[in-house]
């Protein structure tokens, strides 16, 4: 069997799903188990356990199964971590493995390893090639998609400053007898600083996809007794808020984390907004306003059977202007079919009517674009590459006094970036040098 590194990836289909699996394959699998689970589970036994982060705090609870080589899918040591699903949590588990030294698996790589280790029969093997080309094409498509717009601009700015710096340093090393403005330490340092700044910007841009990881905050607002808590219950599927007919039942901000299509949403169910002499309720309403100001999206709930009332208009005019809001008419089941409906979403928290439409609209408004699963992987790959680039740029600062070590760190930085931008060969680099400097005695 060939000597390999250890790879990891989310093995289940992306998106919603009850259980998600992170699969790890390779010689370090057992070592990872010790780190993530605190112990090595008994071979081939499903073990219910916590998945721990660096600080030994639980990321999630789930099932871990360890398959020692050669009796595993790939023929190598394999560790499977079954979490509660949702890209956000799986992402954290995967990231934990990558931090421990795993490499993000290439498309089809588990299957390829299985095949190379004689774990697939001939009939299965026939389809492996097709699988690799299909998943690769898909990954390429999603990589293309995520390399558009702002992210792409950032990446290219980054590449440009990296290539420029490498050009200066390499020209200094390979052409000492030419009249090249020496890439002195100050020049290199300022180049590195510019590079690091670009890199930080790029990482910021890349993290715009971090909705998946961090989710969005949504404030649920409305007059008392329009059914905010019922709607929250309907959205989350569990009884979290106290429901009653008495206005003002919710006096505090209730926070609930729910998921729509695997995107974590932190919903703040608030005290009904209305002028009130009740001091306790007043405090609740103050918190409500604060919550609204921190939200990414405000859901303003209106009683459909009453239509928009003066009090609703007052609330609308008092909303923070820079935060998008969505008008939601609850109790739509009480409306006759022929009643004219205004703009906004009509739902019934009681019957479930309109809920699907509401979920879609929430996702749209927080900026989530529906994408195929591959986009997620591609973005993760980019983040990993950018972080590695950053680590070499940091080390390059330490090597400023030694040009050849500086050059080595820059080479490795670019090698890390190549996974996003494509191959940049030494000949391309020489091309840059020759077009910028008059070389040749």
């Amino acid at each position: 069997m060939q000597k390999t590194d250890t790879i990891a990836a989310v093995a289940t289909a992306q998106g919603q799903g009850g259980i998600g699996v992170v699969r790890i394959s390779g010689p370090a699998s057992a070592a990872f188990a010790a780190e993530v689970l605190g112990k090595l589970p008994e071979p081939r036994r499903a073990t219910y356990t916590g998945f721990l982060d660096e600080n030994r705090e639980a990321i999630d609870q789930g099932i871990a199964i360890f398959f020692p080589a050669p009796n595993s899918f790939t023929g190598e040591d394999v560790l499977e971590l079954q979490g509660h699903g949702g890209p956000a949590v799986l992402q954290l588990i995967l990231q934990r493995c990558l931090n421990l030294g795993a490499r993000l698996a290439e498309p089809g790589e588990f299957t390829r390893r299985a095949f190379l280790n004689d774990k697939l029969d001939l009939a299965q093997a026939e389809s492996v090639a097709d699988l690799i080309s299909a998943t690769t094409a898909e990954a390429a498509r999603s990589a293309m998609r995520s390399l558009q717009g702002e992210f792409s601009e950032e990446i290219h700015a980054l590449l440009e400053s990296l290539v420029k710096l490498r050009m200066l340093v390499e020209a200094m090393l390979d052409f000492p007898e030419e009249e090249i403005d020496e890439a002195d330490t100050d020049l290199c340092r300022s180049g590195l600083q510019a590079l690091r700044e670009n890199l930080q910007n790029t990482l910021k841009a890349a993290k715009q996809g971090s909705l998946l990881r961090n989710g969005a905050h949504i404030a649920l607002l409305g007059r008392p007794n329009v059914g905010k808590s019922s709607l929250l219950n309907r959205l989350s599927g569990i009884e979290v808020a106290l429901v009653s007919d008495v206005p003002g039942t919710t006096r505090d901000v209730i926070r609930e984390a729910i998921q729509i299509r695997g995107i974590p949403l932190h919903i703040m169910d608030t005290a009904g907004l209305r002028e009130s002499g009740d001091e306790i309720e007043n405090m609740g309403m103050e918190r409500t306003r604060q919550a609204a100001e921190k939200a990414d999206l405000i859901l303003l709930l209106v009683d459909a059977s009453n239509g928009r009332m003066l009090e609703d208009e007052e609330i609308i005019s008092g909303l923070p202007r820079d935060i998008p809001h969505l008008l939601v008419y609850n109790k739509a089941d009480l409306l006759g079919k022929d009643v004219k409906r205004g703009s906004g979403i009509y739902v019934s928290a009681k019957s479930g009517e309109g809920m699907e439409e509401l979920r879609e609209e929430i996702l749209r408004m927080i900026g989530w674009r529906h994408q195929e699963g591959g986009a997620f992987i591609a973005r993760q790959r980019h983040l990993a590459a950018l972080n590695e680039t950053m680590s070499h740029v940091d080390r390059a600062f330490d090597a400023l006094q030694n040009p050849e070590l500086l050059a080595e760190e820059l080479r490795l930085a670019q090698q890390a970036l190549n996974s996003i931008t494509g191959r940049f060969s030494s000949d391309d680099l020489l091309g840059e040098i020759f077009s910028h400097f008059c070389i040749g005695k």
């Binding site: 190379l116 090639a129 050849e404 091309g431 008059c438 005695k441």
Partner: protein, 630 residues
């Protein structure tokens, strides 16, 4: 006539590639014949009179570590030695020497004539003899048929060579030598993938007509560097300085006015020239805003006044050459001894070669040097040595050898050539080597001499010297690792002087040497450190190995991760259209290139990791089918 003696290996061409090839083949124990159209020009430096430089010096040291001739000949003929990049790090440090053409040629000739197993013969080669797809010898101009089991072709710029000076051009191998027309014609008939390249050379100046008094002097280094691991500065001849001058606006004006008669700019020259060694007309056109360009005036030797003005290679008409030379400071009254010229010549796409430098199309036929699209004496010598060695190994029915990219610049050179092909004359730069930190001049012997010994090209004398050095390094490293110092024996003052800060616990000397700012010589002054080594080559090696340990380990891990693909062989008769899932573009590239290993395939441009996966799956399926058929 059929020549009565049969040879193992015939080397065609007596330049830097040919001479190293012939010497290596003979050292490896094969009966070798070196055929040259003119024995007087064996080891001739056709272009500038210098050897080495960044990347190139590295190659020369590697050739030397494998028992080659170039470094030793340079030590005997070198009239100025310098170490370039001395302050920029061990790996990019490189030796460069100006050589006396006559002394250099003489040194090479002496080695050739005294090499056992090697015969010289003066005849131009017109034709190759083939038996099916295998070479069986060569036919010379007189119709002499020489039979051999392998042939190494090192034709330089002679294949259909065409010299340009202004708008006149004529066929030649280099100025003063006839081209190899019949052989070029014959090779084209064999349907090998041929192309045209161009290179150039400046007009040569009579040193008596140069006013050195107003020029900047560039002396050699003191102490004088040495090229060969077996060399000694006491063998160097008398040393001379070089001189530096520069072009002026007036020079550029003269050139611009002559461009309408430049073969380069009027489209007469079709071959592609190197970007890093452009002609002066190219330089002032592409970098029009640059007010002047440096010119290095390099002495051609101790017994001649001829001077090589490095930096004004040109194919402009002679009247323009004369004007432009005389517009340069210090050369106002210069006399040109030989006009500059450009030369176009045939080369063969090196993608058609195995890593042994044997052609994939014809068994037993090896190519080395400019015929493969490279430029430079050093690149030629390195290939020559490899081709000669592999020809000999083939005759002796041993497996071919080529160093890996992490073992030698020679490995980088060959791998680049056969996986990337060339689009301009290929020259070595250190930036081409991803494992640059381990491919240093100082450790070329440690990287290669042992292998060379095993393959039969390293003689006893070199082997003895090498063993002594290697063992001394190992012993000293061991001593440093087992010698401990502690705060009780090292005073605070001593620690701060040597280490920059106090030590708080016991350390081995080796651990201390790993620190960035600690050097061997200072370390040895600590109480209890023992006696420093006298041989600086050895202590330097110990120090470098310690300093770069972290980097080298990381690079080794990188190398290791690729080992599987590098060792996985691909059949040369494989049809990549049969590989399921490969795109048509990738199929075509692989079918054109026919890589020898999966590792080579992965370095061909446009071959993606996914394509490599598909290839692995295909190979695996092949093995299974074969197993099933058993």
């Amino acid at each position: 006539m059929k020549f009565p003696d049969v040879f193992d290996v015939i080397v065609v061409g007596g330049g830097h590639a040919g001479t190293e090839a012939a010497l290596a083949s003979a050292r490896a124990g094969c009966r070798t014949l070196l055929l040259s159209h003119n024995i007087e020009t064996l080891g001739q430096m056709s272009c500038n009179p210098s050897i080495g430089g960044i990347g190139k010096g590295h190659l020369v040291k590697e050739v030397d570590a494998l028992g080659g001739a170039m470094a030793r000949a340079t030590d005997e003929g070198g009239i100025q030695f310098r170490t370039l990049n001395a302050s920029k790090g061990y790996a990019v440090r490189a030796t460069r020497a100006q050589a006396d053409r006559v002394l250099y040629k003489q040194a090479i000739r002496t080695m050739l004539e005294n090499q056992p197993n090697l015969w010289l013969f003066q005849q131009a080669v017109d034709d190759l003899m083939l038996e099916q797809d295998r070479v069986s010898g060569v036919v010379t101009q007189l119709g002499l048929r020489f039979h051999s089991r392998a042939v190494v072709l090192t034709a330089g710029t002679f294949l259909a060579g065409l010299i340009h000076v202004g708008q006149s051009n004529y066929q030649a191998g280099r100025a003063g030598d006839p081209p190899a027309l019949s052989l070029a014609h014959r090779l084209r008939e064999l349907k090998l993938p041929v192309g045209r390249l161009k290179t150039g050379t400046p007009p040569r100046i009579d040193g008596r007509t140069i006013d050195y008094s107003i020029l900047k002097i560039q002396p050699g280094d003191d102490p004088v560097p040495v090229f060969s691991f077996m060399g000694n500065a006491s063998r160097h001849p008398r040393q001379l300085p070089c001189w530096i001058t520069e072009t002026s606006e007036r020079t550029h004006e003269i050139i611009r006015k002559g461009l309408d008669r430049s073969p380069l700019f009027t489209g007469v020259i079709e071959g592609i020239g190197p970007r890093y060694c452009p002609s002066i007309e190219d330089k002032i056109t592409r970098f029009a805003d640059k007010g002047s360009h440096q010119i290095f005036l390099e002495p051609e030797g101790l017994t001649t006044h001829e001077v090589y003005p490095n930096g004004i290679s040109t194919s402009l008409p002679f009247d323009v050459q004369l004007d432009l030379v005389r517009s340069i400071r210090g050369m106002e009254n210069a006399h040109i001894l030989r006009p500059g010229y450009a030369i176009e010549y045939d080369y063969f796409n090196p993608c058609g070669l195995k890593s042994s430098l044997e052609t994939k199309a014809i068994r037993g036929l090896f190519f080395a040097g400019q015929i493969n699209g490279t430029t430079g004496y050093e690149e030629a010598a390195a290939q020559g040595l490899l081709a000669g060695l592999n020809a000999a190994l083939q005759v002796r029915e041993m497996e071919a050898w080529c160093p890996r990219r992490d073992e030698a610049y020679l490995g980088v050179l060959v791998d680049d050539l056969i996986t990337q092909g060339v689009s301009e004359p290929y020259r070595m730069f250190t930036s081409r080597a991803e494992y640059r930190l381990q491919l240093r001049e100082d450790n070329a012997d440690l990287r290669l001499t042992e292998i060379g010994r095993r393959l039969g090209v390293v003689d006893d004398e070199r082997w003895t010297v090498f063993n002594k050095k290697r063992d001394a390094i190992a012993a000293e490293k061991e001593r440093l690792k087992s010698t401990w110092v502690n705060p009780r024996i090292v005073s605070k003052d001593d620690a701060e002087r040597v280490l920059g800060k106090n030590i708080e616990r016991e350390y081995s000397l080796y651990d201390l040497l790993l620190r960035p700012n600690v050097n061997y010589a200072d370390l040895m002054t600590l109480p209890g450190a023992g006696r420093p080594l006298e041989d600086q080559k050895v202590s330097e090696q110990v120090e470098i190995q310690a300093k770069y340990q972290g980097y080298i380990e990381r690079q080794n891990a990188e190398v290791k991760s690729g080992e599987y693909n590098e060792s996985l062989k691909l059949p040369l008769d494989m049809d990549y259209r049969d590989v399921r899932g490969l795109s048509i573009e990738v199929q075509q590239k692989l079918n054109l290139n026919k890589p020898e290993t999966v590792g080579q395939a992965s370095r061909i441009s446009g071959i993606t990791p996914a394509a490599i996966s598909l290839l692995l799956v295909h190979l695996k399926r092949g093995f299974r089918d074969a197993k099933a058929a058993d």
